[in-house]
């Protein structure tokens, strides 16, 4: 019988612990497919800091490091500088990357570290139970914005990709979504491009994945995907914000 679908070799096969309807599983799979297709799983080192994906070391079939909250880009810098031919990626959430780890991501990008960052933006803190994230939309209710995020009180959501694309060290920055099959395919192409940029030694690469958190949003998985399309995407515009060759010194 012809095998037309299977688990990527870059995944271990341990069942994901993620909630029903959580897109983490899709993104894990896309990253794993990229590692397989590029033939780099054997020299890949992944770094998963604190957040829902903190157990990623159980799922990826490559060397993995668990890092402190927000510090993955610094840890990745250390790995890449002493193992330059390793393929180094971080897998970070919005609280991790855009709040507690803002300094680390900005400076890894501006140094042009040859690492690939997978950034999951679901506009909420998942693991701790649904608090406001730096990317929580204005008006969005969370456990720490019970009356909805008020820009004049809680501040504005952060557009990470636009911000990082301004930095000369960033070679590839794209925002994608995984709320529909066509978007999943485009997300895969962006992730693959990001790893290729690392393999070509072009500089820092980041793919922001607009994601969903049905559990903490209080929605069914299908409602959550609709909410992504109707509320997240108007604010978090999809596309490539930086491609190699653009704005290089």
């Amino acid at each position: 019988m012809q095998r037309i679908f299977g688990r990527p070799a870059a995944l271990t096969g341990i069942p994901f612990h993620y909630c029903p309807g959580c897109p983490h599983g899709i993104v894990h799979r896309l990253v794993a497919e990229c590692l397989d297709e590029l033939g780099v799983c054997e020299r890949a080192v992944g770094i998963a800091p604190v957040g829902c994906a903190v157990f990623a070391y159980n799922y990826f079939n490559c060397d993995m490091i668990q890092a402190a909250h927000g510090r993955a880009p610094a840890v990745a810098t250390g790995v890449k500088r002493v193992q330059p031919d390793a393929v180094v990626f971080t897998y970070q959430g919005d609280g991790d990357l855009a709040a507690i780890g803002t300094a680390e991501i900005v400076h890894a990008a501006t140094r042009g570290e040859r690492i690939t960052v997978v950034f999951i933006n679901n506009a909420i803190y998942g693991m701790t139970g649904g608090q406001m994230a730096p990317t929580t939309l204005v008006g969005q209710e969370t456990t720490t914005t019970p009356r909805g995020r008020d820009a004049s009180y809680h501040g504005h959501p952060v557009r990470v990709s636009e911000m990082l694309a301004l930095l000369d060290g960033a070679a590839y920055v794209a925002r994608v979504s995984v709320h529909a099959p066509g978007h999943v395919n485009r997300a895969k192409r962006a992730l693959r491009r990001a790893f290729e940029v690392q393999l070509e030694n072009r500089g820092f690469s980041l793919v922001e994945v607009v994601s969903a958190c049905p559990t903490n949003w209080g929605m069914t998985p299908v409602e959550a995907l609709r909410w992504v399309e109707q509320n997240m995407l108007p604010y978090y515009r999809l596309g490539e914000f930086k491609v190699p060759g653009q704005g290089e010194a």
Partner: protein
Amino acid sequence: MAELSLMKGNEAIAEAAIRAGCRFYAGYPITPQNELCEYMARRMPEVGGTFIQSESEVAAINMVYGAGAAGARAMTSSSSPGISLKQEGISYLCGSEVPGVIVNMVRGGPGLGSIQPAQSDYFQATRGGGHGDYRTIVLGPGSIQEAVELTMLAFELADRYRNPVVILGDGMMGQMMEPVQFPDGPPPQPPAKPWATTGTRGRGSPNIINSLYIEAERCERHNQRLQEKYRRMEENEPRYELVNPEAEYFLVAYGTSSRICRAVVGRASRDGLRVGMIRPITLWPFPRAAFDRVVERARAFLTVEMSAGQMVEDVRLAVEGRRPVHFYGRTGGVVPTPQEVLARLKLVVEGRGGES
């Protein structure tokens, strides 16, 4: 041995690290350790290593975590306020069993404090300044030559135990110059690190560097294994210098204050007093055996620190009430003079030791 060089402690430690095979350094400028950072910036590219001026102390220790996890001999350095920022990372290094060397050129505190030499980070270094039950080996050099030797030892111990090692200096140890010699020959080959995250590359199963054990029972087993390792360190690694073992009164001091006390030992003997010194070289594990060697003959101990009294707690634990333990300290970056220590010692000898 090669020729003598006249070097600042900060620079000598940096060169010793490179001679020990350190090929990754990340740090952030702070007085009084800037010469270390600047030396690494010059020297690392010459040996094919990496120097990174990091965006913060927090980032620097996490870069060391990454480089150490990937198998390199890695180092960071700072002074007191910066070391406070590194505590989270040091806890992770311990929890994940990643080797690394951290230099603290201590300055007066708390808060921003002063930029002058102090020893007020002893608790932080020896008790594990971050969260969780952990220990780091803490080395307190008493001269620039010893700083060289202990730096090289620090990398050996870090690799042997897969644990961070702290070199606890102070502003004076960092900025003072003394003649030093470096051992000849190429850097020692670090041991094989089959646990390192370098890519699986035919190894088969992935290596994982991790300190997360979400089930309490597994986390406890992990802790028990770490504690067993710390017990091995306590058995094998205590180091100290004992000056005048036959003396009646013992000064206890490390680092810069041990230099002051060394002068006091000489002056006191000229005044007809029988004074010795116990100089802990490993501050953790604390060299309790040194006290057992002299406590029967000793009349009293006087601990001298550039702090309000931190190591003196370990001295009391080692002496176990068998003899009086007195304390003399200066704080905020003030270095005690031999004259004032001698005066305090004479009070102890006269039985007017004051608070003990």
